[in-house]
């Protein structure tokens, strides 16, 4: 049973009141320059209001406008009002805004690794907030910081105080961010995708931490996210944004049960369901990838005494047949990427056997491996970084085949076919990666991989950086490519919903070992291992069927 936050907060005092806010590109006039167009929303004491939308919809610009942090010279407020606690923010001087920031309104960002200063102790980074806004002795300040760190349930606070960000886990880093934001008990907290970069189990902890602190202090929270599951869990009210406008707003349950706008419905429909899709008929039994007893141990170093090594992957056994998709799911550090990289021979497995299309590749030297590389290709997570920005798409595409001896014109012909396969126009070959959207780039990355006519495609978090609607399209594309070319896909993901929608079989990994292996249906609907159950239990909005706007029947 999905429990929405249905308690009505609209009778409480409005902490944030945005009226008809418009933001435009600096120095430009006319309707085309508007980045935010007539945004109005309110957040009350103790209330969580979500802003959802796809990338570029203006969610983050809204939050930066409230904080007075719009990039100077690039964006500027062109109309409307922002009131906080009855004070009109847009009329304040920069130094008045500065005293409000960190004190009465605070912000948590998406990626705690980059949002924290890497060369400053985390304790000092929290202390800085107190030192800036309060007159405190060194000792009092430290005590206060330790106290706040305890409130966000950081262990061993005295040690963590003196740690640097890279020495902490992702969850701990985000707790530091939250401690920093809440150190002075602000009235308004803006959380900009605060859990997007975290594992599901960590995400669940951070969400409940924010909820608990909000409860205790009556904080108004403006929650920015693209994840409908998270929206369903945390919000009282939801605003859906598209192209700088709010297209629909409603109390949370109303929105999920009776979405009125077509755009909202489309967004909800693209949320992948946790219910695995029906099993596909298995025609082929020919194994393309067979991994047996593979280990990857990172030796512990030490000059004279060998420290015990780290088992990044232990006893890995798996098989992928032609035309089949095997998913490996697990959290960061579970070893799923180690397995993928070992299979790709981007790193060398310590022992065990890897057979690709019948050929043992685990022990081949780099040189001997080269002719076999074309049999396995990879699509990476971030299409913004996996394509050479100074090369045309065509050049990136033909490089591989030409390298393996295909004549250039032939490779080019094939590139044209590939463009058609991934549903891009042929003249895309003459353009550069930055001229495409994220989804298009990922299509190009897939085309580049398939150009080599591989037997095996390894997709390493290949849709994780994409918006849900684009994600759905890319997943469909992978399915189609697989149906047309009969390749086997090894799909690495942390997202159970995605795994449910694309995989025939699923492997769950934890601490470098496989803890559960079975058909997608079995593993996701009837998990046997505790860890799998925990993963599924932590998936936000798991009781809700977003596409059909009702409770999930089988949950």
């Amino acid at each position: 049973m999905m429990r929405f936050k249905n308690d009505d907060k609209s009778s409480s005092k409005a902490v944030l009141d945005i009226r008809h806010l418009s933001v435009r590109l600096s120095g430009e006039e006319g309707p085309g320059s508007l980045v935010l167009d007539d945004i109005s929303l309110q957040v009350h004491e103790g209330e969580t209001v979500s802003l959802v939308g796809e990338s570029g919809s203006g969610k983050s610009v809204t939050s930066l406008a409230v904080m007075g942090l719009l990039p100077k010279g690039a964006l500027e407020v062109s109309g409307g009002e922002i009131d906080m606690d009855g004070e009109s923010l847009l009329t304040l001087t920069p130094s008045q805004m500065r005293t409000l920031r960190g004190q009465r309104m605070a912000m948590i960002f998406q990626e705690p690794m980059t949002a924290l200063n890497p060369v400053m102790r985390v304790g000092d980074q929290i202390a800085e907030v107190l030192q800036t806004h309060r007159e405190l002795s060194k000792r009092d300040c430290r005590d206060r910081v330790l106290d706040v760190m305890q409130q966000v349930y950081l262990p061993d606070v005295a040690r963590i105080y003196g740690s640097y960000p890279h020495q902490l886990s992702g969850g701990q880093r985000q707790r530091i961010m939250i401690a920093m934001a809440l150190a002075l008990e602000p009235k308004l907290l803006i959380a900009d995708e605060p859990t997007t970069a975290l594992d599901v189990t960590t995400q669940a902890q951070i969400l409940s931490l924010i909820a608990e602190l909000q409860e205790r202090h009556g904080t108004a929270v403006l929650f920015i996210t693209h994840d409908m599951g998270v929206v369903a869990e945390v919000s009282h009210a939801v605003h859906v944004m598209k192209h700088g406008k709010i297209v629909e707003q409603a109390p949370v349950e109303t929105l999920f049960r009776h979405p009125s706008e077509e755009y909202t419905k489309r967004l909800l429909r693209s949320v992948p369901s946790l219910i695995p899709r029906g099993a596909r008929s298995q025609e082929s039994t020919e194994p393309v990838l067979e991994v047996s007893d593979m280990q990857k141990v990172y030796s512990g170093g030490g000059l004279f005494l060998r420290k015990p090594g780290t088992h990044a992957a232990r006893d890995i056994n798996l098989t992928v047949k032609r035309g089949q998709t095997l998913g490996i799911v697990g959290e960061s550090g579970s070893g799923k990427t180690t397995v993928a990289r070992s299979i790709m021979r981007l790193i060398d497995p310590t022992s065990g056997s890897i057979r690709v299309a019948g050929k043992e590749v685990a022990t081949l030297s780099r040189r001997a491996l080269r002719p076999h590389r074309k049999h396995f290709q990879v699509v990476f997570q971030d299409p913004f970084r996996s394509l050479n920005p100074r090369w045309t798409v065509g050049r990136s595409l033909v490089e591989g085949p030409v390298n393996f001896g295909t004549p250039r014109h032939e490779a080019y012909e094939r590139a044209l076919e590939m463009m058609e396969l991934v549903d891009l126009p042929g003249d895309a070959l003459e353009r550069y990666p930055h001229q495409f959207s994220g989804g298009q780039r990922q299509r190009i990355a897939i085309a580049r991989a398939v150009m080599m006519r591989p037997d095996l495609l390894v997709a390493d978090e290949a849709v994780s950086a994409l918006d849900v609607s684009v994600q759905a399209q890319v997943l469909d594309l992978l399915d189609e490519v697989q149906a047309r070319l009969g390749i086997a896909i090894l799909f690495i993901t942390h997202d159970l919903r995605v795994a449910a929608q694309i995989c025939d079989e699923v492997i769950v990994m934890q601490y470098g070992a496989i803890v559960e292996h079975g058909s997608a249906r079995e593993v996701l609907s009837n998990p046997r291992h505790d860890y799998t159950r925990m993963l599924i239990g932590a998936a936000p909005g798991r009781e809700w069927d977003f596409a059909n706007c009702c409770e999930l029947l089988s949950a």
């Binding site: 920031r101 960190g102 605070a106 924290l116 890497p118 060369v119 400053m120 800036t132």
Partner: protein
């Protein structure tokens, strides 16, 4: 960390041996005969031969080399062919003026250039930025001796604020040292100010776009602490690299300035030695410079670990 420093210091040995061999051979292969220079124009061939014998120049090359290396390991840099004084004494007398001026130069450069670069990055694409960048181009392109003579003309001859030339040791008369060292140091500093300011600006521009700078703003910090506490330290690694290599280059490159300002430093010593084919002095100077480069590089690498806790060796 200590193990790392020891390994790096041990690595100096092969570097020095290769440099030594290279220098030795190059010097012997270049035309010019120290004996001829020493003996003067009227010397007879027999006299020349005697001088060569005395200097050991008639021995086979490899014997000369091993003899030299053996002496080096005993800490003996040899004796100048021309003045007959020990090379270590000659360098010892001359190194301090050079080092002192070099240090003052780097100090002044950093003091001027880093705030300039930070300011230019902070006010990116404003007139401040353009002014800093224009100055950099100027600092790069005007030759050192032009700047030197220009400074002398303005500050020593027209304004009479500072003496024209010369050198006083800081241990002797600190004020006198600064009076005489300021013009040469500023002269040398122009190019380093240009270089370091540009590097600081570029590095700061990168860092100012980082998420943690936005976090710092969201905390309500003042621009000053954002720039200097949060951003500058993150931008510091490439700046340190430039400063370090700059310092090493300075020692080698002070010849012109020492001539313009008539400073008794190693730059002029080296030039005089080269002109006179004074092999032991040249060899020692080149080895010293090479050693200094290696040492400065090690110091730069160590400074990285202080700036950035993520860097560990």
């Amino acid at each position: 960390m200590l193990g790392y420093i020891i390994r790096r210091l041990l690595a100096v040995v092969p570097v020095m041996i290769i440099v030594a061999l290279f220098v030795f051979l190059i010097l012997r292969l270049t035309p010019g005969d120290p004996a001829a220079i020493l003996a003067g124009d009227s010397a007879t061939p027999a006299q020349l031969e005697r001088i060569r014998d005395r200097l050991g120049l008639n021995l086979p090359l490899y014997e000369q080399f091993f003899q030299w290396v053996r002496m080096m390991f005993q800490g003996d840099l040899g004796v100048s062919l021309i003045s007959n004084t020990p090379v270590s004494t000659m360098i010892g007398q001359r190194i301090w003026p050079t080092l002192n001026i070099a240090m003052l130069t780097i100090f002044l450069s950093v003091l001027i250039a880093v705030p300039m670069g930070v300011l230019a990055a902070w006010r990116h694409r404003s007139w401040v930025d353009y002014a800093v960048m224009s100055f950099s181009v100027l600092g790069f392109s005007v030759p050192v001796f032009v700047i030197g003579y220009l400074f002398i003309q303005i500050f020593a001859i027209e304004l009479r604020w500072l003496p024209v030339q010369g050198y006083t040791a800081p241990t002797q008369d600190l004020l006198g040292f600064f009076q005489r060292a300021l013009l040469p140091s500023f002269t040398l500093a122009t190019i380093y100010v240009a270089l370091i300011a540009r590097m600081t600006r570029a590095s700061m521009l990168d860092v100012l776009g980082e998420d943690y700078v936005r976090t710092a703003r969201a905390k309500g910090l003042r621009e000053g602490s954002i720039l200097f506490r949060h951003a500058l330290r993150n931008a510091a690694v490439p700046i340190m690299t430039i400063i370090g290599t700059g310092f090493a280059l300075l020692i080698a490159g002070v010849v012109v300035t020492e001539s313009v300002f008539n400073i008794p430093g190693v730059g002029r010593l080296t030039v005089d030695a080269i002109l006179a084919r004074d092999y032991p002095v040249i060899q020692a100077m080149i080895l010293l410079t090479a050693g200094l480069y290696v040492l400065v590089n090690l110091l730069i690498d160590i400074s990285y670990t202080i700036i950035d806790p993520r860097i560990r060796y």
